[in-house]
Symmetry: C2
Subunit: 189 residues, 2 copies
DNA sequence: CCCCCCATGTAACATGTTACATGATTGA
DNA sequence: TCAATCATGTAACATGTTACATGGGGGG
């Protein structure tokens, strides 16, 4: 039996309940009201996803308000769930991930705080920087080859993307300083 | 009969065949090899989507290589398709679109070159700037309220997002100058 | 002659969307 | 008591993913 890997939404839910136990409703509110917000949020997505995670033992729900019907379940991550989450956030970053899995990449970073140490975080940022260093020039080259005739919208859209990646590169260079390498450990501040 | 509106992928296909007639294979290659690349690209997504567009008269396919079996179809946009495309790219931009439909927003910009004049493009950029001016401070406020204890990953991920939006604001301010307003028309360069 | 690229398609499957439904609790 | 918010769920549907299948043509 091949265990197909969780979706982004499922990882997001797993990470959030690991940070702190929550109900399905809590999770929905997070997606509705915070900047985490493009991960769905409709009950038809959340509740089935929680059920799947529970079936795979990645999270477990404790029933509160036991006497009423339609009991409320408070979920938290199981040790196995934490392992799976850690494995996911620790995956190597490929250049193409910047194009095809960009959201997932930042989600991984946002959720890694509670499952890995600063060495893994640092490695993540180093790999992201490497990917950006190889991808940005590639995009600039594409931009340079685009013909000047016709509407500029395509070219402008591409340069918007390039600027976004450059902003991310600056961000990563700043961020990495908060995670000193083994050699420099403890010397910061 | 309610005509449900096309998906992003369908709009992308519609826009691309309007720029220039193409086969399904051409479209797949675009998604595989260019920066337009996170829009799917698998045959199981492209060919059914083209079929749907054809059924709604948004595109039409001309059959080439008529004598062989498995004939190759070259698609182009119908006048009705162009209307629908124009309507879509011209929609008003809401602040929440920045969070929930960001990709779609940039796709709309990239595809609008061949269907609207520079006044509409300018309006698009003005509305995007307005949305950014209202959204960026909102995010900064959220960032300021986040507690300093615990792992910084969440805060850093948020500031990465903020920097991306700021980069987009700079880009939009630059880009808008390529589309002079009615009052300044023709005065540029 | 074989492999790769051109070129199109389908079938099974999982996920997510939209809309609906239920009922408890809290504050005005 | 009325409305809003808390809280969970399901059913129908459309879309997209993965994997498979077919076949022609060109180049080494």
């Amino acid at each position: 039996m091949k265990k197909r890997s969780p979706t982004s939404l499922e990882y997001a839910l797993l990470g959030l309940v690991h940070m702190q136990p929550r109900t399905g409703y809590d999770l929905r509110k997070i997606f509705e009201t915070t900047p985490m917000g493009h991960y769905s949020s409709s009950p038809g997505a959340i509740y089935p996803a929680l059920k799947r995670l529970e079936q795979q033992w990645l999270i477990e729900g404790e029933v509160a308000a036991q006497d009423t019907m339609r009991p409320k379940r408070i979920y938290s991550a199981t040790p196995h769930g934490v392992d799976i989450l850690r494995e996911w956030v620790s995956q190597a970053i490929l250049t193409e991930d910047l194009l095809r899995k960009d959201d997932e990449l930042m989600l991984r970073f946002a959720l890694m705080g509670t499952v890995v140490d600063h060495n893994v975080t640092r490695r993540f940022l180093e790999q992201m920087l490497q990917a950006l260093e190889s991808y940005i020039p590639e995009l600039e080259e594409v931009l340079a080859t685009l013909s000047d005739v016709g509407p500029p919208h395509g070219r402008l859209a591409l340069s918007s993307g390039i600027e976004a990646y450059k902003a991310r590169r600056r961000w990563a260079q700043e961020a990495i300083q908060e995670f000193p390498s083994a050699g420099n450990r403890g010397r910061k501040k």
